[in-house]
């Protein structure tokens, strides 16, 4: 039997998990895990690349559960392949980053981390490689469980435990919806295959169909972290070790978008009426816009580096949904199908770019945490002298996240703006979406600016302990991602070609690409003339920069270093440090209530059930207490002065002697 590369990659990850479990040394375990993930990345890329370029679905040998109408088989279509490439690549970088980062947990067993990490990656690989809802759910659950244990890796930390619990509950409620949808359609069709569920969905009655679609949307948008159902995200992502946060935010939440793409782009346009498609498209777009807005404004207030980035993830996933929603809406009309493709392309491109720069920035936050031991942005400062490479990479990441040219973040946002403005010309409400997208992009700039400048620029904080220098491996991991940000940003047409083959979008219907990687909208119905040619504009920018430098040097001015000027007063460096909490106060007050705080509803009369579930309370603790008493009683006889023992011995001897005398007679 010959296996596909994807299957070998999957098995390698499982093998790696087993090997890691028996490794004692953190560094060895890290390198081994990186090796296993690296090998499986290469294998997965071989298959994924072929599928992406060829456009044909790869099918592997099957394990059939005929009685259930389900089969476990590799079934890798271009959409899954694109995600497969992304998952393995980002995971590899994050694993390499973890080698040094995780050594600060040396008192723990490395298997607890690396085994789970590789299982987690294997779960994600599984999710995108199957076309069967039963196994999709199994892998989905596998991924969720593994990531739950990674979120609660710091098990002594009550904050992490609570975050993990919230994550566990919220995603499981959502997954239950997915399960219900799968079971309902299975009972109608007798099979779990994607294809038969599509047919089953097409033939179900109106109400049921929309109920099932709503369940899908709920499940996937919970995983994607869409506001308000993604409320688990700002707690769970900061709690996990930074390498895992990078994977969680970089790729795992993108699998929510993967699910939405599968159902609402892959299935809905074929089975829905025009009106239904439009309604679902608008729902997704407005969820996305709301999420982008709320996440962006809340991140401006955050002073915890990783929480800030977690809210930013909510906001950026909002962008993806927003663009996707526009695409789905126009999928209904044959006249403006170019707009549908444009919106879809924007979503796909932003998935790629957000995966890169968000994992980069989580690694930056991790580096700050590693170096200073705190996530609080008020207590750090001036780190660019400690970690120059990481600071440069973080600057690139921040520029990408804020969507400043010529980075990759700008390229995908450019596509999204095209989609929303041109979409708004045909359907007025999307103009508001476009405005929200622009405004949120500015607020993205505001919070990422705060993140970067407070941590890396300015004066060193006095309260801060002497920051540790960063190991080379961690800097390298960030540098690789920063390089990807710039490369994709400078030549967006190459990346967008991959995205278009992943989504099955004919690129030539939307964009003309030029030889230096630029893009220009083709003149077709619905699109507006526009163009973006980063290499040409960067060259012009460089020329202007040179002119500016020539002007600068024309006066032959001398240079002198001076201390900063505080209007004649004298201050210590720490007194005049810019602190994170001081940023944008008037603005934040104006938008104070944008992110609601919910108090969890607590059922009042469940004390008994709670007690019953709490094995500690009625089984373990009483047993321990009684056992302890027994042992106490025994040990009391052994605690005493030596004379006492001798007395007992003498008494015992007398008893024995008396017995002997009695018996011998």
């Amino acid at each position: 039997m010959n296996y596909t590369n994807v299957e070998i990659a999957f098995l390698l990850l499982l093998l790696g998990a087993v090997v890691s479990f028996f490794t004692r040394n953190w560094r060895t375990a890290g390198w081994l895990a990186t090796g296993f993930v690296g090998l499986s990345t290469i294998l997965a890329w071989r298959d994924g690349w072929r599928v992406l370029m060829g456009g044909e679905t790869l099918r592997g040998p099957a394990l059939s559960l005929l009685s259930l109408g389900s089969e476990l088989a590799v079934s890798l279509d271009p959409l899954g392949a694109g995600f497969l490439l992304l998952i393995t690549a980002v995971s590899l970088v994050a694993t390499a980053y973890s080698i040094e980062y995780m050594r600060q947990y040396h008192q723990e067993h490395p298997g607890r981390f690396y085994s789970l990490l590789q299982l987690f990656i294997a779960g994600m690989v599984g999710v995108v490689c199957v076309s069967d809802w039963l196994f999709f759910l199994i892998f989905w659950e596998w991924m969720t469980l593994a990531s739950y244990f990674l979120v609660t890796f710091e098990r002594e930390n009550p904050e992490a435990i609570r975050a993990g619990f919230k994550y566990f509950i919220m995603t499981h409620v959502a997954t239950a919806g997915l399960l219900v949808a799968a079971v309902v359609l299975w009972s109608a069709t007798g099979s779990f295959a994607f294809e038969s569920h599509r047919i089953g969905l097409a033939s179900s009655s109106g109400v049921l169909k929309h109920l099932i679609l709503a369940l899908y949307l709920l499940a996937f948008s919970t995983k994607a972290g869409i506001f308000p159902v993604g409320d688990w995200l700002p707690d769970a992502h900061p709690a996990a070790p930074s390498g895992v946060s990078a994977i969680l935010s970089g790729v795992m939440i993108k699998l929510g978008a993967y699910g939405v793409l599968r159902v609402f782009w892959g299935i809905l346009p074929n089975i829905g009426t025009r009106k239904e498609i439009i309604v679902w498209g608008i729902i997704i777009a407005s969820l996305g816009a709301l999420s982008a807005f709320v996440g962006g404004l809340t991140a401006m207030k955050e002073n915890d580096s990783k929480r800030l980035l977690a809210f930013s993830s909510i906001s950026q996933t909002g962008y993806i949904f927003l663009s996707l929603g526009i695409g789905i809406t126009f999928a209904a009309s044959s006249d403006f199908f170019a707009l549908a493709l444009l919106g879809l392309l924007g979503a796909g491109f932003h998935i790629l770019n957000d995966a890169i720069f968000k994992s980069l920035l989580f690694m930056s936050a991790g580096s700050i945490l590693y170096s200073t031991g705190t996530r609080d942005l008020n207590r750090v400062g001036g780190l660019s002298s400690v970690m120059p490479i990481a600071a440069a990479a973080a600057l690139v990441g921040v520029f990408s996240l804020s969507g400043l040219p010529p980075t990759n973040g700008f390229a995908s946002k450019w596509v999204i703006y095209q989609a929303s403005i041109a979409g708004g010309q045909q359907f007025a409400p999307f103009i508001l979406v476009a405005l929200v997208a622009f405004f949120v992009s500015l607020s993205t700039f505001a919070y990422s600016f705060k993140f970067y400048t407070v941590a890396f620029l300015g004066n060193r904080a006095a309260s801060q302990t002497e920051p540790r220098p960063l190991p080379l491996m961690m800097s390298l991991a960030q540098l690789v991602l920063a390089f990807a940000c710039i490369a994709i940003g400078l030549a967006p047409s190459w990346a967008i070609r991959l995205i278009s083959s992943m989504l099955g979008v004919p690129l030539s219907q939307i964009f003309q690409t030029n030889s230096v990687g630029g893009l220009a909208a083709v003149s077709t119905k619905g699109l507006m003339p526009s163009s973006w040619s980063p290499i040409a504009l960067s060259a012009i920018f460089l020329a202007c920069f040179l002119i500016a430098e020539i002007i600068r040097r024309s006066g032959h001015a001398r240079t002198r270093m001076v201390p900063a000027w505080y209007c004649g007063e004298e201050h210590s460096d720490d007194e005049v440090r810019s602190r994170a909490h001081g940023f944008y106060l008037p603005f934040n007050e104006a938008f104070a209530k944008v992110y609601p705080r919910w108090i969890a509803f607590r059922p009042p009369r469940l004390k008994g059930v709670q007690f019953l579930l709490d094995f500690d309370a009625w089984l373990y603790h009483p047993l321990v207490r009684e056992g302890g008493k027994l042992v106490d009683r025994v040990s009391r006889s052994h605690v005493g002065i030596p004379q006492l023992y001798i007395m007992w011995q003498v008494a015992g001897m007398i008893v024995v002697l008396v017995l002997l005398f009695l018996m011998v007679r």
């Binding site: 405005l435 600068r552 001015a557 240079t559 810019s578």
Partner: protein, 299 residues
């Protein structure tokens, strides 16, 4: 790409921008009943600064190169802005790139301010960011209005569409919104909150001196100029004048009128607090949204 247009735009940006500043100062002096500096004073200032000693409070590379990068970004924006020459420079850009290169320049100035380690600069950068957050949505709404009206994302297409079709209600509405926000985009009283010389001693620029300060002054002047040119050549391009030098001259005269108007407002108004400015912008956003709504229904 049109070389003539590129040369004209760069010449206006680099050589004529200080003249507008000089005119503004003269007019303010007249309103204050002062004699005031000569119109050439802005040139003299910049030339003198170029030769003065460069004092640095930070050894950071960002601090060193950000002024040139900011000037370069605004120069790229100046190349994208139509300034009378038919068809413009023809850079591969649209309204999104126009806005974002402006933001890039502002980003450079703000990051440089944070790198200077001066708390006044930090305060200035934060205020600049908040002004950006409240002003740019209006500018964007106005630009989208124009894009919807003309059916193109390119600024030159918008200008020529407006020239060909004459004034329309939504475009006038958008133009008024842009005019009302102009004072803030120019960074002048009552909206010079980010610089506020007598409050936070120049904000982002407090640690700058010598050639770097000269470059930053140039950069800010060019920014004022491109916003004004956006208003006059996209939203008020009439009447159509055929040889381009005449059109450029007419645009310059209109820009001068805008600067005179701005100078009068500046001389007569006190500085607003940031929250007052934000609520003003909030109201103005409705004007811009109204323009957008009118454009959607096609008037």
């Amino acid at each position: 790409m049109s070389v003539t247009a590129a040369v004209v735009n760069l010449a206006i940006a680099l050589l004529l921008a200080p003249a507008f500043e000089g005119a503004t100062r003269k007019i303010k002096a007249i309103i204050h009943s002062r004699k005031g500096p000569p119109v050439t004073q802005a040139y003299i200032d910049i030339l003198k600064l170029l030769a003065k000693e460069d004092l640095r409070s930070s050894s950071s590379l960002i601090f060193r190169f950000a002024p040139s990068a900011a000037l370069a970004s605004f120069m790229v924006v100046a190349l994208m802005t139509p300034m009378g020459v038919k068809g413009g420079v023809g850079l591969p850009g649209d309204l999104v790139t126009w806005i974002y290169f402006l933001t890039l320049g502002a980003a450079m100035i703000m990051i440089m301010a944070m790198a200077s380690k001066n708390p006044f600069a930090g305060a200035g950068a934060g205020r600049e960011m908040m002004m950006l957050l409240s002003v740019e949505p209006i500018v964007i709404a106005v630009l989208i209005t124009s894009a919807i009206k003309s059916g193109s994302m390119r600024l030159t297409d918008m200008a020529s569409w407006n020239l060909a079709h004459g004034p329309s209600f939504s475009m006038i509405c958008a133009g008024i919104a842009l005019l009302l926000v102009l004072q803030a985009t120019l960074g002048r009283l009552p909206f010079d909150i980010a610089e506020a010389e007598n409050e936070i001693v120049g904000g982002a620029l407090v640690e700058q001196s010598g050639p770097n300060l000269a470059l930053l002054k140039m950069a800010l002047l060019i920014r004022q100029l491109v916003y004004s040119f956006l208003l006059v050549s996209v939203f008020a391009p009439w009447p159509p004048l055929s040889p381009w030098p005449l059109a450029t001259l007419a645009a310059l005269v209109k820009v001068l009128i805008l600067f005179v108007l701005a100078a009068v407002i500046e001389a007569l108004s006190p500085r607003l607090r940031i929250d007052q400015a934000m609520s003003y912008m909030g109201k103005l956003l409705f004007v811009a949204l109204a323009a957008l709504a009118f454009a959607m229904i096609g008037v």
